[in-house]
Amino acid sequence: MNKSLQTTHVKLLAFDLLSLNPTSDPTTFSRSATLLLSRAEILGTVTFRDYKPNKFLKFTVDDGTGLVPCVLWLNHLTSPYFSRRDPASVRVVANVATDFASQIKIGAVARVRGRIASYRGDVQITVSDVVIEKDPNAEVLHCLDCLRLARKCYDVVAVRNCK
């Protein structure tokens, strides 16, 4: 399988992302048994929000082709995972995540980047970056981007390099 896009945030429509298959490596997913992916960029309307202060924000992004569950971790200041890192850097990361969480509101159109993960057997995004889109054409343009990339890049990358 082709690994050339494994470190790229690939633009995917929800139904495409949700149809990825897990591999033996929990951080990697396969698309159509030809392409290995680890990161994704999605764009859609926020339709659900479950906020647990200092723990996480779970939300869903609906792009009209599917509903992508997303988790934004907000536990940087309490998790032992970050305890060995530079406290100042961790505070910056925590503040950025808190700012993202405040922007995620039901009805907002969000561009979300993150790691593709699996939770209880379903694909989800572990969020690393959020941009709220104000342009009413943003979803249409993202959709057209995804279609072009899928046809010209992802679907053919297994046989030749993506240009």
């Binding site: 139904f15 159509s32 309307t45 659900f48 009209g64």
Partner: protein, 130 residues
């Protein structure tokens, strides 16, 4: 409401919401787009139009959305078919989309559906081969 209870709103044009359409089912989750033709503050019922097609939208669950006749709106919600066969969308999400290129939106919808059909065909072919 748990996220698992929420469904994706399928993209449809108002012209497609006729009684023989596969989308014309009670409880179907849809996303519709149209120009606000009428809004009742008393009932919170909005009427949106796209060309000659119109749809009523129940907006009672929406907050922080102001309605202006002539503006474009997009709603996500569940279709409710009344006994007289009149559909009404029970909106759970709504936003103003003034500036949306409706022609581009309609064209992208056709391209998207073709892509989804091709994608599903490819996946079933891959399954047969494996």
């Amino acid at each position: 409401m748990a996220s698992s209870a929420i469904k994706s709103g399928a993209l449809v044009t108002l012209a497609e919401l006729h009684s023989s359409s596969p989308f014309f089912k009670d409880g179907t989750s849809l996303r519709v787009t149209g120009k606000l033709q009428d809004y009742s503050v008393e009932t919170a019922i909005a009427t949106v139009a796209d060309g000659s097609a119109i749809l009523k939208v129940d907006t009672q669950h929406l907050r922080d959305l102001s309605f202006r006749v002539g503006s474009m709106y997009q709603f996500i919600g569940e279709l409710c078919i009344h006994p007289d066969n009149e559909p009404i969308l029970q909106a759970r999400v709504g936003r103003n989309v003034d500036g949306l290129d409706l022609n581009l939106y309609h064209q992208s919808l056709q391209l998207l559906r073709q892509f989804q059909t091709d994608h599903m065909n490819n996946q079933s072919n891959n399954l047969k081969q494996s």
